[in-house]
Amino acid sequence: MISSITRHASNAKFADGHSVQVIKDESLGHCRTPLYVRGAVGKVVSYIGSYKNPEDLAYGGSGLPESPLYWVEFNLAELWVNYSGDPTDTLQVEVYEHWLRKLAQES
């Protein structure tokens, strides 16, 4: 259970429950999207807020415009081949919107 925080989702592209894929891209410098989730499919848990873009901030930029940040949940058994834990084990990561693309909704 994540404690609730005030969220203003007006500028957020993805809603809770959306299936998303983390963009499988190289990053040339500072970046807060871990390599091990790039290309992985997960689900938006919720929008957290919008924050200055760390990829710009790291090099003296303003970090603006702020980028929407989400909690994205991955199933560990889907993330790793031969995952040894329980099939319900999950991983939750903070991912900026520009690193996500929406997948078609499962029916």
């Binding site: 259970m1 404690s3 925080i5 560990l76 999950t90 903070e94 900026y96």
Partner: protein
């Protein structure tokens, strides 16, 4: 082509890195000289952080267990709850409580570096910053927890939370059974640092 130079095999923060130490001291000297950031300010910040210990987190956990209204506040606004205990936390990053329940256990890691709720727990332990913990807990969390002596019930869900960007997390461990008659101070004495990272449970 001769291949006789050593390759770094680990990037643990705990290992000595003389080139970076030299760079750091030179940058600090420049900053101090220019007046942008004085060594006194750096020292004051380090002392403030090192003066913070897991005791603050333990007091907060004990209050959450003992006082439902306080728990509600901590869920909604962790810095406001901490302020009631005299602990100041900055407005950014976002500090959040991860509540362990009978059905869900949280464990926190920062795979990218060593993000940690320092204002409420102090500096992170060396193992938290180690490449071993950071790389393994997202791949085989139950094995890593077992090495801490922690076994998650088969039926309970395990959620690994990677602190990658703007959030810092404090785990609210499950209150152990048989503690109904303990005072808040006695409860706080049971709460360990590791339980607030989620690698252990609190026990009597």
């Amino acid at each position: 082509m001769p291949h006789d130079h050593p390759h770094p095999t680990s990037r643990d923060h705990s290992e000595p890195r003389p080139a970076f130490d030299k760079l750091l001291s030179q940058v600090l000297a420049k900053l101090d000289h220019s007046g942008l950031l004085t060594s006194a300010e750096v020292t004051a910040q380090i002392e403030d952080m090192e003066g913070r210990t897991p005791t603050e987190g333990a007091r907060l956990v004990a209050r959450c267990w003992a006082d439902p209204e306080f728990l509600d506040l901590a869920r909604k606004d962790l810095p406001a709850a901490a302020a009631k205990l005299g602990v100041s936390m900055p407005a950014h990053p976002v500090f959040l409580l991860l509540e362990n329940t009978e059905e869900l256990h949280h464990v926190v890691v920062c795979t990218l570096c060593s993000c940690y709720p320092r204002p409420i727990l102090g500096p992170p332990p060396v193992w938290y910053k180690s490449r071993n913990y950071r790389s393994r807990v997202v791949v085989e969390p139950r094995e890593v927890l077992a090495e801490f002596g922690t076994v998650i019930r088969e039926k309970a869900n395990l959620r690994v939370v990677d602190s990658t960007a703007d959030c810092r997390y404090l785990v609210l461990p499950l209150r152990p059974r048989g503690t109904e008659n303990l005072t808040e101070k006695e409860l706080a004495d049971l709460v360990t640092r590791d339980s607030m990272i989620g690698v252990t449970n609190v026990s009597m």
